[in-house]
């Protein structure tokens, strides 16, 4: 028993806290009176704060294991967990209207929500393929459940499409996993890499098999991150989803996905060469196609869906030129992406919930009604576009300089990606331009949504503050990448 407590204390504390609060929410959903629905939000917030606080209690130097070495805690995983928890904090505050509409299911909502967060955190920490598969699947399941939380027929249909495609790629993952298991009879990532280090030589059968099965497995991540061959679900799903759920899908699985992808790339890229080029190609195709599609959207949520796709593409480009430097740049990009993305979604939620604005044409003349919203939204969009006075610029500079550093093979991809960022800038620019139009409209906006406003302003402010203090965070990211 003391061993168990010790293990939880050193390696598993934040997850444990989240599990406790999942149970609390679950029990409350059965027993609590629906008129106390607001309590669910505060309970969840308290749990998330507690979990963030508990990460400081973990043993991260050098590292700690739990569950017989299946669960790893080090500075890398803790970095991701804190990011995921910050996301969770913001997303909880953004969920106000979700639980107001369904008061009797408020606790249920947060049960599912917190399990999504839990499995995202577990996914980053696992060091074997079984745990990885399970946690990614469970994360996906919570996404499906959150998507179908409102019972409109449209959202059900879209969720079902998402579910089917998700099931297909999961089965691909399993095929790849079984191939690898058949080859080396291991599921642990470290053991598998050891096996290949001992046996594989360039062009050998085992290497070809490894490459093939890796491609199958990574399809699952490409799906979650909205990258090119599997990005068809994005726009429709986001359009059908409630905005807070859109914010969830565009941030938490992305964080978890890149956390794992970096790990997989680090372990296996030594044994494959062509994969780097393949993924660079995927990344660049995503950037170009995603940004071209984004410029043609009229719905804010659809636009944000393609925006997520493009941002993932940029991060994948940074990740596939694999070095400590590029990894730290991806970490920094993720850090900035969280704030910018959630800020943009907060603005969308605010506009939708207060005045049912969701198309670009509805936003005309908004500057005359709500100058502060518009300015904060503009700052956040500028951060997403990667322009000057926000952290987006530093992130983009850092990630592209990492690509430039990695050798001349990637330079054509770099220039195409840079041109792609111009196109996505135009897509964001369309939103901003609409808001600054001189047309006088009679939009009525009620402003009781304090939490969403708080998040919008906090994110806008933090994008600027991160830009000023970027140096400290870059140093932190370099440290994290180095320990990885």
């Amino acid at each position: 028993m003391t061993e168990l407590i010790d293990m939880i204390k050193t390696a598993y504390l934040p997850e444990f806290v989240i599990i406790v609060f999942i149970l609390i929410n679950m029990l409350a959903s059965v027993f609590a009176n629906p008129q106390f629905y607001k309590l669910s939000k505060w309970v969840t917030l308290f749990g998330i704060c507690l979990a963030i606080a508990s990460t400081f209690n973990l043993q991260i130097e050098p590292e700690a294991y739990a569950f017989d070495g299946a669960f790893l805690t080090n500075i890398y995983t803790v970095f991701f967990k804190i990011l995921i928890l910050i996301c969770a904090f913001f997303l909880t505050l953004l969920s106000r209207n979700m639980i107001r509409e369904k008061r009797d299911r408020a606790f249920e909502y947060f049960t599912v929500f917190l399990s999504g967060i839990l499995f995202a955190m577990c996914a980053v920490s696992t060091v074997d393929f079984i745990g990885l598969f399970l946690s990614m699947e469970a994360l996906g399941l919570s996404c499906y459940m959150l998507l179908s939380f409102t019972k409109s027929p449209a959202s059900k249909q879209l969720t079902f499409g998402y579910l089917v495609q998700g099931a297909v790629v999961s089965s691909l993952f399993l095929v790849g996993l079984s191939l690898i298991y058949g080859l080396c009879a291991q599921v642990n990532l470290g053991m598998i890499s050891l096996y290949f280090a001992n046996t594989s030589s360039y062009g050998s059968t085992s290497q070809i098999l490894l490459t093939f099965s890796l491609i199958l497995m990574i399809c699952s991540f490409l799906f979650k991150l909205g990258l090119v061959p599997f990005s068809s679900w994005l726009a429709d799903t986001f359009e059908g989803a409630n905005a807070p759920i859109g914010a969830f899908i565009s941030s938490v699985p992305v964080l978890a996905g890149f956390g794992i992808l970096a790990k997989i790339f680090m372990i296996f890229f030594n044994y494959t060469f062509t994969l780097k080029i393949v993924f660079a190609f995927i990344a660049v195709t995503t950037i170009i196609l995603g940004s071209l599609s984004a410029t043609r959207q009229d719905n804010l949520k659809r636009l944000m869906a393609y925006s997520m796709s493009v941002q993932s593409g940029i991060m994948l480009l940074g990740l596939c030129v694999f070095s400590v430097y590029s990894l730290s740049s991806v970490l920094f990009y993720l850090f900035c992406y969280v704030f910018a993305n959630i800020g943009a979604w907060a603005a969308i939620i605010l506009l939708y919930n207060s005045a049912k604005l969701q198309n670009l044409t509805d936003l005309k003349g908004l500057i005359y009604h709500r100058p502060y919203y518009v300015i904060a939204f503009t700052i956040v969009l500028i951060a997403l576009a990667g322009l000057a006075p926000t952290c987006g610029f530093v992130a983009k500079l850092y990630i592209f300089s990492a690509v430039a550093r990695s050798g001349f093979v990637f330079l054509p991809y770099l220039i195409v990606a840079l041109l792609g960022t111009v196109i996505i800038t135009y897509a964001y620019w369309r939103i901003i331009r609409g808001m600054f139009r001189r047309i006088e409209t009679d939009i009525e906006i009620d402003t009781h949504m304090i939490s969403s406003k708080f998040i919008l302003y906090a994110c806008a402010l933090s994008t600027v503050v991160i830009c000023i203090y970027a140096d400290k965070i870059i140093q932190l990211c370099q440290l994290v990448a180095y320990y990885m």
Binding site: P371, Y372, L387, A388, P389, F393, V394, L397, Y398, F400, S401, V403, A404, R405, L411, L414, I415, L418, L419, T421, V422, T425, Y426, F436, R438, I468, Y469, A470, D471, K472, I474, Q475, Q478
Partner: protein, 507 residues
Amino acid sequence: MNFLSLIWLIAAPIIIAIIIMFPHFPNHQVKVRRFAKWFASLHFVYSLLFLAFFDSSLFGMSYEKELTFFGMSWLKSLGISAKFAVDGMTLLFVVLTTFIVLITLFMSKIHIRTKHKLYYSMVFLLEAAILGIFCAKDMFMFFVFWELSLIPLYFLVSQWGNSEARRAAMKFTLASFAANMFLFFGMLILYYYNFAVSNVLTANIETLNMDSNLYPVWFQVMVFVNFLIGFVVRIPFVLFHNWYPDIQSKASAPVNILISGLLLNTGVYGLIRFNMQTFPEIFKMFAPVLMVWGLVNIIYSGGLCVMQTGIKKMISYANISTMGFVMVGLASLNQTGFNGAVFCSIAAAIVFSALYVVISCVVFRTKSTYITALGGLGQVMPKCMYMALIICFAAVGIPFLIMFSPKIMILTGAMLSNLDQQLMVKIAAFIGLCAIAVSTGYIMFFFYKVFCSVLLDQWKKLKDLSPQETAILSAMCLIIIYLGVNPMSVISVYQSVSSIILDVLQV
């Protein structure tokens, strides 16, 4: 001189822009305009102080200042810092910038009728961005300001232009962003190659300039071409020049002054600072090509100029044509040519802004920009005609006016230049000499069509210049005459800079 801080020089317009944009700032146009004019005047005086205390005999940068946040420099771990400094050349550009902004604000009263707050804050934002471009000592800071300058420009053109302005502004902004990406690409690979060679991660322009001989030639050519694309779009040169007449003909009059006065200089500055100073060897290699390009620029856009029907387009082609002289001067690779080129770009900014002031006076009264609809205005607007005559003579290059000495210096430099293809260069210089005749042709054609010929009936009741316009135009004419008589007062400020740059070129 502790009170002279470049950071305040750049930050003050940004702060003022934010103050003006603030919702609680009065929305009354007179108040906004007075506030803006007062600030711009003070800012101009402040920038003059930099010139007054500047020691032009010094080699290298002065007034160096680093922006720190509680003692921490920006992005230290990436070797990027927010350092600012000026040398003689950039200091002149800085003073020119604040001067043109002041002129613009005085001209804005009659042309800007709506959204005053947005207009004045965008002008100041543009000013800050342009000042940042000239003062940044770090490559990526330069790029930040380079991109920042596009955003206010978009608003300035689209919001107060004619009905087609919005589309033109969007086209220009996107095309410039695309060109900027080539610039950014060049900077990124230069930044890393420099790290790989010298093992110091830095984006400091001076350090990068010193290490340039360490790179292989193919790499230098690659970066050089990327930079060239970025800057040539801005200057603008033939092949990449379409945006300039397009925007100038659609923007409102004060914005015309801003664009011709501020924007083109940044391209020239970038060309000198990056292409010439960082890759002297490659610049030498490309010099004949660039010289021919400059000549094509002079003659081709001069020819286009005569064919235009709108006066704004006409003057913008004349401006492009004049920028060709700058390229010829830079490509001649000697001190005379270089001095002439820098002086020429300053002179072009002054002369063409003055021409746009004249045009704005004419267009405001007649509401017509078509050259066929104008004519004989000199009979009803004599003051305007005489001022315009001085300015047009200056644009042509009449002796004792501002454009004379730079053009002569450029052509002398080209004649004396020591490039490999001697005969070709001599021919080029001769063609350039003939091109002055071309420029005389189109400028005088403009003057004749607008102010001489036959006066149409509908213009018989036009009023002459108001006192304010007279004051602005006579101030500009005085500058034009003063610098024409005494060109050394400008050239002596950047003499040391040109000798540094040409020492590296070793021609």
